[in-house]
C-alpha cells in the first residue's frame, strides 16, 4: 500500500483566543494530527493575506485562520476585518489554480480547546483529500531550471 499524503498546514492564531484554546487543548491532552504548525499573532486582525500567500508559496498545503468569535474580539471588532480579507482572498486563489478550500477561517474562543482540536483534525483530512499543492516545486520550475524551457519546447509545438 502506498504511504498516505501528509499535508503541511500553517495555522494563524489570535493570542487571546485560539492560541489559548491551543494551550487548553494541550493541557487537556486532546490529540490532533501533527500536520499543523501554529503561528501566534496578537489578533486575527493582524492577518495579512501576504502571510497566506507566503506560506502557500513556501510549500504549505493548507492554511487555517483562527480568531475570536464575532462580537467577542479582544480588540472589539478586528476579527471582522480578518473575515473580510479571508472572503476576498478566497475569491482570488482559484484564479491561481488553488482551491479556495485550502484556506479556512474558524472562530475559536479561549475556552474552546476541544473545538479547535476538532477543527484542526477535520481540516487536515480536508486537505489530505485535496492532495499536495507543491508550490515550492513550481517556484523551482519558474526560477529557471533549464529543464523548464526544454520541457515546454518539446511539448508545445504540434
Amino acid at each position: 500500500m502506498t504511504e498516505q499524503f501528509e499535508p503541511i498546514i500553517i495555522g494563524f492564531t489570535c493570542n487571546w483566543c485560539s492560541y489559548r484554546a491551543a494551550d487548553l487543548a494541550g493541557t487537556a491532552r486532546l490529540k490532533y494530527p501533527p500536520n499543523i504548525r501554529l503561528i501566534r499573532m496578537m489578533c486575527s486582525g493582524r492577518m495579512d493575506p501576504t502571510f497566506i500567500l507566503k506560506a502557500l508559496s513556501e510549500g504549505a498545503d493548507g492554511i487555517l485562520l483562527t480568531g475570536c468569535h464575532p462580537g467577542e474580539c479582544h480588540y472589539l471588532e478586528q476579527n471582522y476585518k480578518a473575515l473580510r480579507r479571508y472572503l476576498m482572498l478566497r475569491r482570488t486563489l482559484p484564479q491561481f489554480g488553488i482551491e479556495a478550500k485550502r484556506v479556512k477561517l474558524v472562530w475559536a474562543s479561549a475556552a474552546e480547546g476541544v473545538r479547535l482540536a476538532r477543527e484542526i483534525t477535520t481540516f487536515v483530512e480536508e486537505i489530505r483529500a485535496l492532495g499536495p499543492l507543491n508550490w515550492k516545486d513550481s517556484r523551482a520550475y519558474n526560477n529557471g531550471y533549464g529543464v523548464a524551457e526544454v520541457e515546454v519546447s518539446t511539448e508545445v509545438p504540434a
Partner: protein
C-alpha cells in the same frame, strides 16, 4: 521575495526543555537540540542545549551564562506556552543584559508533546517549530518598554454600591476621585431594597452610612444628575468631559430643607426609584437619605416649565436656591484611571405576555416588591395587593423570568434565587400567606446562602421545580375564581399543576444597560454578545479591561450580588491605587507606528482602530498613531496598502521569517533543508 536578510550574523542560543517527561516523553529533545545546532548553524545557532526544566533557576542560569560568556545575541526557548513562561525567560535575558524582546518561545509542550501520539512526527514538528523560532528571532528587534506618567486623580462612573466602594477605597487613601452618577442621588439599586440576603440586614442601614461617607469625603468630587460626555487620552492621562445636567437648584444655597417639595403642587408617579408604585413631586429627591441632599426639578412635569406659571418652590425657598434659568454645565477633568460601575437594568416582564405582567393587576416584579416591603416605601412596608389594602392569602414567586431562557437571556442572573427566597421569607414574616416558589434549579452558592434556603424551607414555603408556562386569571376549576392561576409542570413528580394565588412576584432577570454598547465605545472597551463588558481575563484579571487604565466593577461585568460587587469595587480600586503608587505605568512595547514618508494619506486605516489611536493630520495629509492609545492588535499594520505601518514585536519580517522557518525543512527528506532553487 523572502524576509529581508540580516546584515550582521546573530549568535542564537536554542534551549530545548524536557519539562520532565511532559515533553521528553514524546519529543526526542536531545535529537532536536543536536539537529538545531547542525541544521541551523548557518542561520546563526551557536549553542543548542536540552535541559530537564528550563524554567528552573538552574535552567535560567544556563541562558544567562551563555549570554554573558558565549555572547548570545538571540535566545530561543522550546518549552511550554509563552503564556506561562515568556516573562520568565525574558527576565533571564534581561538579567544577563540582553534585551528581553530578543527572546522567543516556541510551545513544544502544549502544541506538540501533549497533543501528539507519534514520537517521530512529534519530534519532526518540534524541529520545524524550533526552526521557525530561530528564523523569527533573528528578525526580532530590541524593544524598550514604554512608560507613561499616571495622573493621581480617578474617575468612577456609577454611584451604586460597587462605585461607592471603589470611590471610598481610593479617596480614603488620600487620592482624588470624581464620582459621576446619572440619577439625582448615589445609591443605585441597593438603595431601593428593603433587606439583603442572606443576613437580612436592612439595605438602607448598611448603605446610607457609605453614601454619607462619600458625601463627606473631601477627596471626592461628586457629580450626580450628570453623565460622561466624552473621553480622550489614554492610561495615566485621560481627559474626561462631564455633562452636569441643570438641577435648577443653586447647590451652594440649598440646605435640603425640603420645603420646596412640600410646597410643590405637582405630584407625579415615580417609576424610577419607586418602580411606579409610589409618587414624588416635580421637584424632588429620589429618597429621604439621598446624597447629595439637593433636589432636582423635573422639567417634564414641573408646571412652571410646562406652562410658565406656579414658581411655588421659588416663592417658598428660604434661601432663594431655585434658579429656573440654570443650564447644563460641562466640566473637563483629567484623570489617570477610570472605573466603570454603571450596573444593570432589570428585564421588562411585559416581554413574556403569558406571565400577564401589566395585564394582570396582581403580578409584580421583584423591584416592585422590593419597594413594597421597604418600610420607607409606598406602602410603608405593608405587603398588599394592587388595591393597596388587601393582604394576599397566597403568593407565587417565579424564578428565572427572562434568564436561562434562549428566547431572552441564556445566562443565569445569579441573584434571583436568593432574592426570591428572601421574598418568601419576608412574605411569611409579614403575612400568613402560603408561598409557592417556581424554580428551574435552586442556586444557592456562597457563604450562608444554602443555610438561608434551608431556613426558608423550614418556614413552610412550597417549592415547585418547573418552569412556569402561564399565569392566568381564567378559572377552570373550583377555587380558582378571582385568583391568579400559575400553570407549571412539577418536574419532580412530572405532573402539570395549577396553583391559584392572590399575588405573583416575577424574579426578573438582570440585563446590561441598554446603552452599554455606546458606553463601551465611548471608553474604548468591548461588550460580550449579550452586552456585559468583557474583562481582560475571566479568571486572572476580572476587573481590568483590554484598554489600559479602564477598569470595571460590579454588575456591569455580569450579574452579581452585593458582596461580589463590593469586592470588585475594592479590587478595581486596588488596581487603580497600584497604578497611582507606581506613578508611571509600563506599557507592552508591542505597538504600531507610521512611517510618515511612506504614508500617502489614503486614509484606508483611519477607521480601523476601535481605540481611536489613529489620527489623520489634514494639514500634512498623513496618518499618525498615538503610541499610548495603541493596543498592538496589528490590524492597521496588516491593512496599510503602502506598507507604511510597522507593528513592533510582530513585524512582517518576523512573521515572514517564521513562516519560512516552518517550511524550510521537509519531513519527507528527514528534516533536512529543502534546497532553494537556483536561477539557471
Amino acid at each position: 521575495m523572502s524576509a529581508a536578510p540580516k546584515s550582521e550574523k546573530e549568535r542564537v542560543g536554542v534551549y530545548v526543555c524536557h519539562c520532565g517527561t511532559n515533553i521528553a516523553g514524546i519529543v526526542d529533545v536531545e535529537d532536536v537540540a543536536l539537529w538545531a545546532k547542525k541544521e541551523l548553524g548557518d542561520d546563526g545557532v551557536v549553542i543548542s542545549r536540552d535541559y530537564k526544566f528550563m524554567c528552573s533557576s538552574l535552567g535560567q542560569e544556563l541562558i544567562e551564562h551563555d549570554i554573558e560568556i558565549e555572547g548570545l545575541t538571540r535566545v530561543v526557548v522550546a518549552a511550554c506556552s509563552p503564556h506561562l513562561h515568556e516573562a520568565t525567560f525574558r527576565g533571564a535575558c534581561d538579567r544577563a543584559g540582553l534585551n528581553p524582546y530578543l527572546c522567543e518561545m516556541v510551545s513544544i509542550r502544549e502544541q506538540v508533546s501533549w497533543v501528539t501520539t507519534d514520537k517521530v512526527k512529534a519530534t519532526a514538528k518540534a524541529k520545524a517549530m524550533v526552526a521557525s523560532g530561530v528564523e523569527r528571532v533573528i528578525h526580532n528587534e530590541p524593544l524598550d518598554r514604554m512608560y507613561v506618567p499616571v495622573h493621581p486623580d480617578t474617575l468612577v462612573v456609577g454611584g451604586g454600591i460597587a462605585g461607592i466602594q471603589a470611590t471610598l477605597e481610593i479617596s480614603n487613601s488620600g487620592n482624588k476621585v470624581y464620582l459621576v452618577e446619572r440619577e439625582p442621588s448615589i445609591g443605585g439599586h441597593m438603595a431601593q431594597f428593603d433587606k439583603t440576603f442572606p443576613t437580612l440586614d436592612c439595605a438602607a442601614c448598611i448603605l446610607t452610612p457609605r453614601m454619607v461617607d462619600v458625601g463627606n469625603q473631601p477627596n471626592v468630587e461628586l457629580y450626580t444628575w450628570s453623565e460622561v460626555e466624552r473621553v480622550d487620552g489614554y492610561v495615566g492621562n485621560f481627559t474626561v468631559t462631564i455633562r452636569k445636567k441643570a438641577r435648577y437648584i443653586v447647590e451652594a444655597d440649598c440646605t435640603g430643607c425640603g420645603i420646596c417639595w412640600e410646597k410643590c403642587p405637582k405630584k407625579v408617579i415615580d417609576d424610577v426609584f419607586e418602580a411606579g408604585l409610589g409618587y414624588r413631586k416635580a421637584v424632588y429627591t429620589p429618597f429621604a437619605q439621598a446624597v447629595p441632599k439637593y433636589p432636582v426639578i423635573d422639567t417634564e412635569t414641573c408646571i412652571y416649565f410646562q406652562n410658565g406659571k406656579c414658581r411655588a418652590c421659588e416663592k417658598f425657598c428660604p434661601t432663594d436656591a431655585i434658579d429656573f434659568n440654570q443650564e447644563d454645565e460641562f466640566i473637563t477633568v483629567t484623570v489617570g484611571n477610570i472605573i466603570l460601575a454603571t450596573g444593570y437594568d432589570t428585564f421588562d416582564a411585559r416581554r413574556i405576555p403569558q406571565y400577564g405582567y401589566g395585564r394582570l393587576a396582581n403580578v409584580f416584579t421583584s423591584i416592585e416588591f422590593e419597594r413594597m416591603c421597604n418600610a420607607a416605601g409606598p406602602t410603608d412596608g405593608e405587603i398588599v395587593m394592587r388595591d393597596g389594602v388587601t393582604k394576599p392569602k397566597s403568593v407565587g414567586i417565579v424564578h428565572c423570568v427572562g434568564s436561562r431562557d434562549n428566547r431572552y437571556n441564556s445566562y443565569c442572573s445569579v441573584i434571583c434565587c436568593m432574592s426570591s427566597l428572601k421574598f418568601a421569607h419576608v412574605v411569611k414574616e409579614r403575612t400568613d400567606a402560603e408561598v409557592y416558589e417556581f424554580y428551574i434549579d435552586m442556586r444557592t452558592a456562597y457563604k450562608d446562602y444554602d443555610e438561608f434556603y434551608q431556613r426558608v424551607l423550614e418556614e413552610g414555603t412550597h417549592f415547585i421545580r418547573g418552569k412556569v408556562a402561564e399565569i392566568t386569571d381564567a378559572a377552570r376549576q373550583p377555587g380558582e375564581e378571582g385568583k391568579l392561576i400559575i400553570q407549571a409542570e412539577d418536574t419532580l413528580i412530572s405532573r402539570q399543576r395549577r396553583i391559584p394565588v392572590d399575588m405573583v412576584i416575577l424574579s426578573t432577570a438582570l440585563e446590561p444597560r441598554p446603552d452599554s454598547k455606546e458606553v463601551g465605545h465611548k471608553f474604548g472597551i468591548s461588550c460580550s454578545a449579550n452586552g456585559w463588558f468583557i474583562e481582560k481575563h475571566p479568571k486572572l484579571d476580572p476587573v481590568a479591561t483590554m484598554t489600559e487604565g479602564i477598569f470595571i466593577a460590579g454588575a456591569v461585568q455580569g450579574p452579581k450580588d452585593i458582596p461580589t460587587s463590593v469586592a470588585q469595587g475594592a479590587a478595581a480600586a486596588a488596581r487603580v491605587l497600584c497604578h497611582i503608587g507606581q506613578e508611571q505605568i509600563e506599557l507592552e512595547p508591542v505597538r504600531a507606528s507610521v512611517n510618515a514618508d511612506k504614508c500617502s494619506g489614503c486614509r484606508i486605516c483611519n477607521d480601523l482602530c476601535p481605540f481611536n489611536a489613529i489620527l489623520f493630520h489634514e494639514d500634512l495629509m498623513v496618518t499618525e498613531i498615538n503610541q499610548a492609545l495603541c493596543q498592538g492588535c496589528g490590524t492597521c499594520v496588516a491593512a496599510c496598502p503602502a506598507g507604511a505601518i510597522t507593528g513592533s514585536g510582530f513585524t512582517n519580517n518576523q512573521i515572514m521569517a517564521q513562516i519560512e522557518g516552518m517550511l524550510m525543512f521537509s519531513e519527507s527528506n528527514g528534516m533536512t533543508r529543502v534546497a532553494e532553487p537556483v536561477a539557471a
